[in-house]
Symmetry: C2
Subunit: 427 residues, 2 copies
Amino acid sequence: MHSVTQDNDNLQMLMVKIGRRARAAARVLGNASTEQKNQALLAAADVLRQRASDILAANALDRADAEIKGVKGSFLDRLKLDAARLDAIAKAVADIAALNDPVGRVLAEWTQPNGLRFERVATPLGVIGVIFESRPNVTADAAALCLKSGNAALLRSGSESFRTSSLIADAMRAGLRAAGLPEDAIQLVPTRERDAVGLMLSGLEGAIDVIVPRGGKSLVARVQNEARVPVFAHLEGICHVYIHAKADLAMAVSIVLNAKLRRTGVCGSAETLLIDKAVAKTHLQPLLDALIDKGCAIRGDATVQAADPRVTLATEEDWRTEYLDAILAVKIVDGLDAAIDHIETYGSHHTEAIITEDNGAAEAFLTRVDSAIVLHNASTQFADGGEFGFGAEIGIATGRMHARGPVGVDQLTSFKYRVHGSGQTRP
Amino acid sequence: MHSVTQDNDNLQMLMVKIGRRARAAARVLGNASTEQKNQALLAAADVLRQRASDILAANALDRADAEIKGVKGSFLDRLKLDAARLDAIAKAVADIAALNDPVGRVLAEWTQPNGLRFERVATPLGVIGVIFESRPNVTADAAALCLKSGNAALLRSGSESFRTSSLIADAMRAGLRAAGLPEDAIQLVPTRERDAVGLMLSGLEGAIDVIVPRGGKSLVARVQNEARVPVFAHLEGICHVYIHAKADLAMAVSIVLNAKLRRTGVCGSAETLLIDKAVAKTHLQPLLDALIDKGCAIRGDATVQAADPRVTLATEEDWRTEYLDAILAVKIVDGLDAAIDHIETYGSHHTEAIITEDNGAAEAFLTRVDSAIVLHNASTQFADGGEFGFGAEIGIATGRMHARGPVGVDQLTSFKYRVHGSGQTRP
């Protein structure tokens, strides 16, 4: 019988071994041709379709276990695969083959007076650790994005989707094999052991270059607090829409309804509406009516509450809350500066929009608001790699280092300088 | 009398306060115009010249103290300012005003089918912590580069140069004031207390975005191990020159002499010479003769030692050593793959060069060697922001995240997405 210490030692040895295999595979994958990588992605998509019945059977077992454990409705729905969802996963993998290869892009090129020609060329980041919860599609999405960008993927599935994720990861590895690429470029951590997450956050002795958490706020918070390697993530999306003094009312109503209610559970959904004092008289009531008609609850400041008895008085906490639900905090602000101050005080640097016909005010807002995404006359729900034209995203980052906003294949790369000479020495 | 705990609490309070002031100043500086920032730099250069006698007097005191403490020759020389050196410092600050403003650059721009226009625009990183040792010029250089790139600088001087650095920092702050910018955008940590470094490495409660260490290997190692925020640095530069089978001998000799001996103490100096077996007979002896003639000691593998009695036999440790001196490790390798394997095994991912007339071999080397800078037919001593045309650098990074190679003003920026709409909502 093993002691707890022995088990921990074994887990650590296992994880370090996995990390080393990932690093070795990354070196090969980093130099693979575009054709080879695309061949692997298309083969993986085929294998996902061919093994559909096995994957769906595994998913049924995962869900049965989860139900026994008393897992709730929305979590169960995220866990669930059916034929249509699995086909969409396979299609998404094949679609990533159609993206431009981000590796080898010449990002800049110039020649110095001494004749040295410099190129700044995109290279893979190395090994990307992805830690996710119940959604089994992340196994395929994240692995495919890493593969396309020449990075090895170390995937840690939530324990509830372990069987499903294992079969999906196997299919992705079969794709790598079919293209003559090292299958260790995609590895699913082969244990439900919770300590494996902590080991990944330590970086596995330098084997992991960056961690991407995909899941709820508590997972992201843990990863951001404990990781000893860089993290691409956003903790929350407390997104604002600011109705400026020169906002068109019809546009304001249309954008606010979309920003709040199109989908309330996504990170780009608006959580706070700021209405300029100058247009409170004309714009506030129509906005409240439209929102409340659609079933949105309103938490307003004193002025907003006084205007409409259906409004609950907002507390200080409301300005800091990501509801992810049909609830909106509404505040009257005195001008552009006050709006920006509110956003900088309470926001999460994710996505903010200004609605105005005044281009000067829009310019000031876009320049001065320190968020990853700032929009003029458009819905905050455009905060999405697909909507940006990136094809697919591994997540959205609010940090300022390396990646910011939707993280597509281009942002999963680093770069190096290639210098072409003809015998130059330095004086 | 204060207890040790009280003193630590006081230091922490002081540092957190400094961090908050830096963050507030960064918000203002981040939106300052190019003209204002340049005005501040030119004014600072003027003040540095006007206060030359005070600064040189402070420097004399610093040096006298250091000599009493028994500080050594090269350290004392780095600490030393004279009229010419101080003038060069002032000129370097003024030169940074002449660089293009990296903030606000449109890095990419595109329009989606729905009419949304996207811009990816460079923004400052925020607050940059610079930890340095004896060289007082870093106070001005680093502060000026941060100012130009819209970042607040938190500078931690080595205790030996504290008086000099304080007066230089004062001059830089006077420049900010003259331009109507917040002087807290440049702050020198006002204490020699060693624990201040550890507090900076903790990030000062989120006030520091990135740390740049400027100093010897032990400082960099400490910063890399302890920092809870990203670090731009290289631990060492174990740079290789590989003489390929198709290398021109005269070019090989000229580049190797320059790469090793132009200056032996810089991070881009070559530490290991790899000679292809195919040209060992013709190229080895002329290379050894040229190097030894110039006073370079050689540590060679068995073949190299057998070729010349002046060669010492290299140990395993030699391949991992950054000599920073007139010593070169020399090894015979069997082809391009063996050269790349050696570099990947023993190198530090800093700078490597291949000498060859075979463009296919050069291309393979530049693609496959995973270093920040890879050169074909040029000296490794070109590893320098000035030589790259960056104007000035805050350091050279070997990490893969965000910054890599020489870190100039462009790489002291992050970015955000500005999205221009006309009422778009997401379907």
